[in-house]
Symmetry: C2
Subunit: 305 residues, 2 copies
C-alpha cells in the first residue's frame, strides 16, 4: 500500500494530505442551514452538514493531492449518524482515487486490536461471506500496549495490502510528558521508533514499509533523529500550519530524495475561507478557498525540498 501512496505523491508532486476534521463551527452557514431545514437540529442534520462540507472540499481538491486523512473523532462526536458520514466520506474519497488515512489511533490487547484491524483495514467473516466495515487504506495506531497490540494490524496490512502509521512523537504541547522521558539515556519515542522499524520489516513494499510513523512537525530537531533511525519508514506529519509547524520545520522529516514524509493540514485547508488571506472567496466559495490553500501549501513545502 505504501508504494501506491508514494506513486500518487510523485504523480501530484504534492507530499500533502488534507485532514477532513470538520467542526460545525468551520462549516459555512448556508450549508448548516440547509441541512437543518432538511433534517432538523439533530445528529442527522449536523452529520448531513458535515457530509456536504466534506464533499465540496474533496470535489475542489482531489486532483491536486494524493491522500486525505479524516479524523474519526470529529464524526464520532455525532454518534452513529456521524460515523455513517465518516464511512460515506471514506468511500467517496476512495472512489475519487484518493488514498484514505483513517485517523483512528486505535490500539489494544491482541484480540481486540485484531478486531479493530478487521473493522478499519480488513474484512470480517460473516457466515460464508467476507465483508468490510470501514475499509480505509491506512489507519493510525497507538503503541502503548507494545508488540502484541500492534502485530494484528501488521498482519492485516500484509493480508490486505494496507498500511498503518504508529504514533511515535506527537505534535501536541504535552507530548513530551511521557514520550520524551529518558530510558537508558534515550527518549521513549526513540524506543518506539526502533520497534516501528522492527514491525515494519515484516511488511516491506518496495523501498518503504507499510508500517509508517506519526512524527509531529512541531519538533524538528527530533524529526532529524527519527529520520535517521527509521530510514525506510514513511512519516505522517501533523502539526503544519494551524498547530505552528513551518515548511522549514518539515525538511528533516524527508529523505534526501524528497520522499519519506506526507504532511497533513486540516484546519488550514478546510477552514481556509475563514483566514484573512483567503477571505475574498467568501463562505459561498469555501471549496475554491480550500483549493487555493492546498496549492499554496504544496508550493510552500516543495520550496524546501
Amino acid at each position: 500500500m505504501i508504494s501506491q501512496l508514494i506513486e500518487k505523491i510523485q504523480k501530484t508532486k504534492a507530499p500533502v494530505c488534507v485532514g477532513l476534521d470538520p467542526m460545525l463551527s468551520y462549516i459555512p452557514e448556508h450549508i448548516v442551514k440547509k441541512a437543518f431545514e432538511e433534517y432538523g437540529e439533530t445528529l442527522k442534520g449536523a452529520s448531513e452538514a458535515v457530509w456536504q462540507f466534506n464533499k465540496e472540499i474533496v470535489d475542489h481538491t482531489w486532483d491536486l493531492i494524493p491522500a486525505v486523512k479524516p479524523q474519526v473523532a470529529m464524526y464520532e462526536q455525532f454518534g452513529i449518524e456521524g460515523l455513517t458520514v465518516y464511512k460515506r466520506t471514506v468511500d467517496y474519497c476512495r472512489e475519487k482515487g484518493l488514498v484514505v488515512i483513517g485517523d483512528v489511533k486505535r490500539g489494544d490487547i491482541g484480540s481486540t486490536s485484531a478486531a479493530y484491524a478487521t473493522g478499519h483495514l480488513g474484512h470480517v467473516k460473516v457466515g460464508s461471506r467476507t465483508l468490510a466495515g470501514f475499509d480505509t487504506d491506512f489507519i493510525t495506531v497507538n503503541p502503548y500496549l507494545g508488540t502484541d497490540g500492534v502485530k494484528p494490524f501488521v498482519d492485516v496490512c500484509n493480508q490486505e495490502d494496507k498500511g498503518i502509521f504508529v504514533l511515535v512523537k506527537t505534535s501536541n504541547p504535552s507530548s513530551g510528558e511521557f514520550q520524551d522521558r529518558l530510558i537508558d539515556g534515550r527518549p521513549l519515542y526513540e524506543l518506539v521508533a526502533e520497534k516501528v522499524v522492527e514491525w515494519g520489516d515484516q511488511s516491506m513494499d518496495k523501498g518503504y514499509s507499510n508500517v509508517g510513523a506519526v512524527v509531529g512537525a512541531t519538533y524538528p530537531e527530533m524529526s532529524r533523529i527519527l529520520r535517521k533511525l527509521m530510514p525506510r519508514t514513511y512519516f505522517l506529519v501533523p502539526g503544519y500550519g494551524a498547530q505552528g509547524g513551518t515548511a522549514e520545520d518539515l525538511r528533516p522529516c524527508f529523505n534526501e530524495d524528497g520522499l519519506g514524509a506526507i504532511v497533513n493540514s486540516s484546519r488550514g485547508i478546510i477552514a481556509a475561507y475563514k483566514q484573512e488571506k483567503y477571505k475574498d472567496f467568501g463562505p459561498e466559495n469555501f471549496g475554491e478557498a480550500s483549493r487555493r490553500a492546498v496549492m499554496d501549501m504544496v508550493a510552500d513545502i516543495n520550496r524546501v525540498l
Copy 2:
C-alpha cells in the same frame, strides 16, 4: 459518577463487571441462524446476532452486577451496523440500571480528545440543542499523548458527572515493552500512575476520583505498588479468568476495606456455556450458564476480600 458505581458495587456485593465483547464464534448457532435468516449473511445479520446474544446475557445477569464493559472494537469490526448495536447495548444496559463502561481506549491531541469526550461521555451542540452520541457512564482512555490529551476527558467528567479509566498497566503479555521501562529508576507505568492521581484530583467524587486506572490482573506485584501510589483511584482490572489472572492475584488491587477495584471478565462469562464446567446448560441456555458463571466469579473474588 464513581460514587454511583461504588454504591452499586456495595448493593450487589459484586466488585465485578461483565465484558460484553462478543465474537461471532461465541454466539450459539440457533441465534446466528435466526439472525441470518432474517437479515442474510450481512453486517446487519451479524450485528443482529450480537444484539440478541448481548440481550440474553444482560437479561440473565443484570440483577447480580453493578456494571458492564462493552469493548467497542468487537462492534466496530462490523462497521456502522455493529456500532448501532454497540449503542443499542449501551442504552439497554443503562435502562436496566447498569453502569456502562465503554472500553474505547481513545486519546489524541486536545481538540480531538475533546471530540471523543463529547461523543462518548458528553453532549454536542447542534444549533440550539445539545445532543448525546453514545452516552456511556465511563470510558477507557490512552495516556500516550500526555496531559493535554487527557484533560478534555476530565473536563467532561466534571461537566456531566461521568468517569474515565486511564490505561496504566495493561494485562497483555507485551505490556512491559514500553510500560515497564525504567525512567529515573522507576517504570513508566508509575509515572503514568502519578499523572492519573494529578488528573484525578481535579475530579473527586466523595472518597474516590472519577479518573480511574486500568491495572491488569496479570501482574499482582505491580498492582500492589500501584494501589499504594493511587489510594483514591478506582482500578478497572482486566485479565481475570481467560487471560490467566486468579482471585489471589486480584487482592492487591483492592484497598483494605474491600473497595478500590472492579474486576472485568469477558469470555469467562459470556462464553461460559462453552466451558466444561458449564456445558450441561447447553447452547440453548447460554444465558443461564453466564448467570452461574457470574455467581461463581463473585464468590471467588469475595473469598479473597
